[in-house]
């Protein structure tokens, strides 16, 4: 009888034990799973701004250096932490007597100074070499001026015979350049400090008002490389994005030819022509369209310096040749058309990009929303009642209270700006 009871108890005990074990196991599995998920989430498949995937020689140099320094730093870090943990546990206070206090052991100290010094000098040699390589400018083949302002980037291309650029080109949001060419960006800013960073092509470089900072850029293959402003610059910092578009040399020449094309006014009697009139009335005071003329035939020069705090607004002469707008935050292309460009094989990419935005591919929804009420799409200081700090000038594009009718006309007109 006793025996049996005993037996029963032990069976019950066994059961409890198993449950405890399985709960522990479940918790352990949960923790392991969660950490794995956390670690793997660092490996997103669609990560265009991944610093570990260099697509040009400058970024490759940084990557090579980083692949050497990271393991060294990692090993040293793990060793130091493990040693510290060992010491914390081994010598923890268990009520033992305080050992004799001594100071200094020259051999250990000298060894422990020399080893890090050696590691640092090896790392230092490679780091300095990379830094100097990335600062080199003698091998420049093409220059592009890059000007940051709240909250978009402007690019202008000085005339350069070697690149077939005979008149200056000006664009925004998407930086277009030829592959395999050593491009030098000359960065500056019109208002606050911004920072230009295309992770796949090079490190970042601040754009500082009053200064010209140089950044090398080179891409091995045609394609679009995404980036974003990396110096906090105010309200819409997060919406200040940019894309670098690398085209084959032939495609780049075509792009240049298109950017230098003269303005053709829409034909009389079309919706686009009415749109041009709306544009002249509403938009031309901020936005330049090169070659546009008013009803009397006089060339119209915009005056963003009188209306916008930074003194500039995007030049819209060839708006539909780029496929994003407002600091590369919104797509000018519909989703399908956009992925057909982004995911194109590199041989087909150029032709697809140069096709620009056609009527069927235009992202009507976002462009219309922008024209209807831009500050609702992207936070900007564009409330006319709150412009005192900037002397009545806007930071960003204001809501112009256009009618739907005007918006129809404007969209038709903007589509002609190829």
């Amino acid at each position: 009888m006793m025996n049996q009871e005993n037996h029963m108890t032990s069976e019950k005990d066994m059961k409890t034990l198993t449950t405890v074990k399985s709960t522990r196991r479940r918790i352990a599995a949960g923790v392991a799973g969660a950490s794995a998920a956390l670690i793997l989430s660092g490996c997103a498949t669609n990560a265009p701004q991944d610093t570990w995937k260099p697509k040009g020689e400058n970024a490759a140099k940084i990557d090579t250096l980083q692949k050497m320094v990271f393991p060294i730093a990692g090993i040293v870090g793990v060793l130091v932490l493990a040693l510290a943990a060992y010491i914390f546990i081994k010598f923890r206070d268990q009520g033992q007597e305080i050992p004799a206090q001594s100071h200094g052991k020259p051999v250990v100290e000298i060894v422990l100074t020399i080893i890090p010094a050696l590691i640092l000098s090896v790392v230092g040699v490679f780091t300095f070499r990379t830094i100097f390589d990335l600062a080199k400018t003698e091998d420049t083949e093409m220059i592009i001026n890059v000007t940051g302002q709240q909250w978009w980037w402007e690019y202008d291309y000085p005339a350069q015979e070697a690149q077939g650029i005979t008149q200056p080109i000006i664009t925004s949001g998407q930086l277009v350049f030829p592959v395999g060419t050593k491009v030098l960006l000359r960065e500056t800013s019109r208002d606050v400090i911004h920072s230009y960073w295309i992770p796949a092509l090079n490190g970042k470089k601040d754009a500082v008002p009053g200064r010209i900072h140089l950044l090398r850029l080179q891409a091995d293959k045609p394609g679009i490389y995404a980036g974003q402003c990396t110096e906090f610059c105010g309200l819409s910092h997060a919406n200040m994005r940019m894309e670098a578009v690398a085209l084959s040399k032939e495609d780049f020449a075509k792009w240049v030819a298109n950017q230098q094309k003269a303005y053709t006014a829409p034909a009389e009697g079309t919706l686009a022509k009415e749109g041009e009139t709306v544009f002249l009335n509403q938009c031309a005071r901020c936005h330049q369209v090169n070659g546009i003329k008013d009803a009397t035939g006089k060339a119209v020069i915009s005056a963003p310096d009188e209306n916008v705090y930074a003194g500039a607004a995007p030049n819209l002469s060839h708006l539909m040749s780029r496929n994003t707008f407002a600091g590369a935050t919104f797509d000018l292309l519909t989703k399908d058309c956009r992925s057909s460009v982004w995911d194109a094989a590199s041989e087909e990419f150029g032709a697809k990009y140069l096709a620009g935005v056609s009527e069927s591919c235009l992202n009507q929804k976002d462009l219309r929303a922008w024209l209807r009420n831009a500050p609702a799409m992207k936070p900007m200081y564009a409330d006319p009642a709150k412009l005192k700090p900037t002397g009545g000038k806007y930071r960003g594009m204001p809501n112009l209270n256009l009618t739907e009718d005007d918006i129809d006309k404007l969209v038709a007109y903007l589509l002609t700006l190829k």
């Binding site: 400018t137 003698e138 420049t140 220059i143 001026n145 000007t147 402007e154 202008d156 000085p158 005339a159 200056p168 080109i169 000006i170 030098l184 000359r186 500056t188 019109r190 008002p209 009053g210 200064r211 010209i212 140089l214 330049q288 060339a299 020069i301 005056a303 963003p304 310096d305 930074a310 003194g311 500039a312 030049n315």
Partner: protein, 373 residues
């Protein structure tokens, strides 16, 4: 109930709060000054709270603290210093701002010292203990304060010396000074007998030498070349030729290191010819492209044998009332042979076929196109 320390901080809180209100009312309700004053008030209130809570942290054991019976009278120099500072403030108001600032500094310094000493004197009847109380309350302020003043005097005197001695002499002075500091340091570290009085005497002598040299060179002025440059600047600004309206945009450009270190382009005259170089690429070019409505620095370098100036021609404009068309532009000062000048330009309107911009150098043929897209 109110401990001496908390009274001080409550006073500070009240004073800064009142100043903040006055400041917001009379000066500007929303700028940094108001924020700073309110910040001081908040910090004061916080510390006042702590001091009240901890009763100033004044915990003395029975044998440390001697019962306060009589007020010991210790001689104090602070009332005199305080009165002197008031006089200096008044003199400063009548003479030079710097005297006024020094007076205000002394005023607060001696006022605080006086208040703290008075407070400490009430701690007990034992002067030595009171001295300890005083030191504990104020040393943390005194040492950094004295160090700052000392550092400022050293920096000022040494910079006067460096500006005054000749270009060739400067490195020698620098080496001697550095070697002296090193030698004293080594002596203090390795020769125990040097510590104390001998070290103090050495440092005092050095201080006297430094201050004397500083005063001497302040009176004597900057070395010849530097003095010439600032005189030349004055001359050039007075003798501008490129138009009465154009304000000197490059005042003291010769001295402006930061501007010179970041120019978009360098324009050089050499052997009667002008050429431009863009920063980043050394090749000579004949056009410079600058972004619209943005400050852009252009460096002018004169390697010609005569004095030259760089003109920036920014097209023409019609004067609204009269209809007269006049040239728009600006220029650098006259720049001597082998010298450089920076000019900062901002062009609000793009260049076009009928508004062409350029850089020219009077007396020299050729021009550099200025393109604004």
């Amino acid at each position: 109930m109110f401990t001496p320390g908390s009274k001080y901080f409550l006073g500070l809180t009240g004073l800064s709060f009142v100043s903040a209100v006055l400041y917001m009312f009379f000066v500007n309700p929303s700028d940094l000054g108001a924020v700073a004053l309110i910040g001081v008030a908040l910090a004061g209130a916080l510390i006042a709270g702590f001091t009240l809570l901890t009763r100033d942290g004044d915990v003395f054991t029975a044998d440390e603290a001697v019962e306060a019976a009589a007020q010991p009278i210790t001689p104090s120099m602070w009332p005199m210093a305080f009165a002197l500072s008031l006089a200096i403030v008044l003199i400063g108001l009548a003479t030079r701002p710097i005297v006024f600032v020094v007076g205000v500094g002394l005023f607060f310094g001696s006022g605080i010292e006086w208040a703290i000493q008075n407070w400490a004197n009430r701690a007990s009847a034992d002067a030595e203990f009171n001295g300890f109380v005083r030191a504990r309350a104020i040393s943390a302020l005194e040492y950094p304060g004295l160090a700052t003043v000392g550092g400022a005097i050293i920096a000022y005197c040494f910079s006067r010396v460096m500006l005054g001695v000749s270009k060739e002499g400067a490195p020698i002075v620098f080496i001697v000074a550095a070697a002296f500091v090193l030698a004293v340091g080594v002596a203090v570290a390795f020769k125990p007998s040097f510590r104390g009085k001998p070290a103090l005497a050495t440092i005092l002598v050095a201080a006297v030498v430094l201050v004397t040299a500083g005063i001497t060179f302040t009176v004597k002025g900057e070395r010849h070349e530097l003095a010439e440059v600032s005189k030349a600047d004055e001359y050039n600004i007075k003798n501008r030729e490129c138009g009465p309206e154009s304000a000197p945009s490059d005042h003291l450009a010769n001295n402006n290191v930061s501007m010179r270190s970041s120019v978009a382009a360098t324009i050089t005259v050499e052997d009667g010819k002008v050429y431009a170089q863009l920063v980043g690429i050394p090749t000579k070019v004949d056009s410079v492209t600058v972004p619209r409505s943005n400050f852009t620095n252009i460096l002018f370098r004169n390697l010609d044998s005569e004095e030259r100036r760089l003109m920036v021609n920014l097209g023409t404009q019609k004067v609204a009332e009269t209809g007269v068309v006049e040239k728009v532009g600006t220029c650098t000062q006259l720049t001597g042979k082998g010298q450089e000048n920076v000019i900062t330009i901002t062009v609000p309107k793009p260049s076009s076929a009928d508004q062409q911009y350029s850089f020219t150098v009077p007396g020299v043929t050729g021009e550099i196109k200025l393109v604004v897209p």
